[in-house]
Assembly symmetry: C2
Homo-oligomer: 383 residues x 2
């Protein structure tokens, strides 16, 4: 298939590009290095250095991988994006091109403004580029489990039938997110659903949980093909932060009570899920939603797992609770459905001790480069 | 109270400004003439000429009204809006500053882009101007009943308790709108709710139905103080369109089956509702939602009412169904709650035959200026 990957330089975008190229798809990646720019501005650069996107693509091809088309362009510029869609005529677009940091989106007006404009703007531009230039193209959009927040009822896969005063109807599952970044994904979903209904485009919205992992079949070919590894409070997930704290001999910092529960998945399962969604496209006029994760943990459980994995490498690790910089429930009900992708054939890779140990082994050579200042929270949700 | 009115040159903004000034509030109106510009570009100018906002304010003061502060500025420009909020230090902001036309928002990429950027951008800027410069200020935001669409269950006032698999939680009532314009208001509500939760601002979101009427106590002082009267397919409501068709001897054009039901209200009731919301502010950290309309009609019922009112003026009026340019249900369940504003003291003005006759009498002198080309639909929802 002809696949356009927006945000191809990202943590998910780059491994997806290699994986799809390897499977024989014709791949075009687009990125404007927004994440790299924000990482520089906020002192949140990745721990492991990575070449730029054009160099990554050349390295991958030189290592025996298949060629891919690289475009350095801002998808928030409609002229550029629509030209790429018109010329490349994709059968599927994987839309990862969003500012992905919740803490960054909470830093103040300027960061919030950038997040809202970029994320909603790219989604809007993509919808129109598809309507105008490739109306049959399937949009596979990266949403987030964070759109749902932590409601006191079971979370369904995108839709819910509500019975109210003796009558029934089906609606998008109600969503209320915990950061402006997550809220932009709520808005994205509303916008996509509107254009699905009125213009008959086809969309799959993947409500994904936090992803972990550095190893994919293609990334393992050459160390320079490694996915981005951020461990800071801006771009780092809690898993990465804990692993780096373990490697640096810093206590694992649990925000508040640590009962925050989320659904997690291995990077290799993201690759599977996106491929499965692409190979089984939504119908015209359909917004299909999958909840994309394989297992759920509390923050305390993650800390315990990292502590155990670290012990195998003779690293002694303490766990410490610190005041929560976020506004979120620290203990809550959490029971999200996630059967849709399993039914399409997803074979999960679970977060075993081996997986965490392998990540630690990958991190340890960079021990000296760990900046202790950036593992502690630098952004508060409100003031 | 010190009241900032964004969109003060609009159909609602201008009568609100006069009404609040008359009641002794200190009023500052802001507008960038976006509606006038779009009206020119789309050949949708108002039937009755109106002076610009600065002239209106001068005329009103010269006629014995109270002075108000007029700022011609684009609220989508954060620098300008935040400066106005910082200097004026409003106790309430009435936020009408949105591109209000559903058909315009469906004209194509450029119009949709302008609508999304302007509407969401102004709401976002207002939230931040309030957070940074007037955190106690109450935001009274004009939403729309159109946010709810036409679900098959009763519409509540903004919130719904959902019981699902034996557990319960309260959510924003699910919303899915029929145009991009209405969808921007869905997104506005989500954005406001996010910042209410995280930053503790106070917001009232008024889910208003279509408004009709040209007469208010202040507008009646001088004919040049008349509210904007659009009858075209872009800015004209169905009521205005039918009245103008009746005045021009053109058949009333019902879109499709005409069973489309909406909640309507008189312009004087909008003034009451906004004043009631302002005088009884939402608490800090509260998003309060009212459904703002007083009676509901199908399009066919409106056509019958206009036909009867026209008969009193010896105008013979035919009713005709034409293909529906919109994507909407032409027959549907509709039972929205609207008790909140009544409980605050709203005294409704209903759509009597006298009210419609008075509007027709106001229109008839402009009979010769009616452009028949612009009463028929010029925009289709999808192609």
């Amino acid at each position: 298939m002809r696949v356009l990957i927006l945000g191809g330089d990202g943590y998910l975008g780059w491994p997806t590009a290699m994986s799809f190229a390897e499977k024989g798809h014709e791949v075009c990646v687009v990125d404007n290095y927004l994440r790299r720019r924000i990482a520089m501005e906020t002192e949140s650069e990745a721990l492991i250095p990575t070449p730029n996107l054009a160099d990554r693509a050349r390295l991958y091809a030189a290592a025996g991988g298949r060629a891919m088309d690289v475009k350095i362009a801002d998808c928030a510029d409609y002229r550029l994006l629509s030209q790429i869609v018109a010329e490349f005529q994709p059968e599927a677009v994987i839309h990862y091109a969003e500012q992905p940091s919740a803490p960054y989106s909470m830093m103040g007006f300027q960061a919030a403004d950038l997040t809202l404009r970029n994320n909603l703007g790219v989604t809007f531009n993509l919808v129109w580029a598809v309507i105008e230039h490739a109306p049959d193209c399937h949009i596979v959009k990266l949403g987030t489990m964070g759109e749902y927040g932590t409601p006191n009822i079971d979370i369904e896969e995108g839709w819910i039938e509500i019975e109210h005063k003796g009558r029934k109807d089906k609606f998008l599952y109600p969503r209320q997110a915990g950061s402006l970044y997550h809220t932009t994904k709520v808005l994205d979903t509303d916008l996509l659903w509107f254009y699905v209904r009125t213009h008959g485009i086809r969309v799959t919205d993947l409500m994904q949980g936090p992803v972990y992992g550095l190893s994919t079949p293609e990334a393992d070919i050459d160390p320079r093909l490694v996915p981005n590894f951020h461990y800071d409070d801006i771009f780092g997930t809690v898993v990465n932060r804990f692993l780096v704290q373990a490697a640096a001999g810093i206590p694992l910092t649990v925000y508040g009570k640590g009962g925050q529960t989320r659904g997690y998945l291995n990077l290799n399962d993201t690759l599977q899920c996106v491929e499965l969604a692409m190979q089984n496209p939504a119908k015209k006029g359909e917004l299909r939603i999958f909840n994309q994760f394989t297992e759920q943990f509390t923050v305390n459980e993650l800390a315990d797992r990292v502590q155990k994995a670290a012990a195998r490498l003779k690293l002694k690790v303490k766990i410490e609770s610190i005041p929560n910089p976020r506004k979120e429930k620290e203990e809550h009900y959490y029971n999200p459905a996630h059967s849709g992708l399993m039914e399409l054939g997803l074979k999960p890779h679970y977060m075993t001790e081996d997986v965490l140990v392998a990540m630690l082994e990958r991190i340890l050579p960079f021990q000296d480069q760990i900046d202790r200042g950036r593992v502690m929270p630098r952004v508060r949700w409100a003031w």
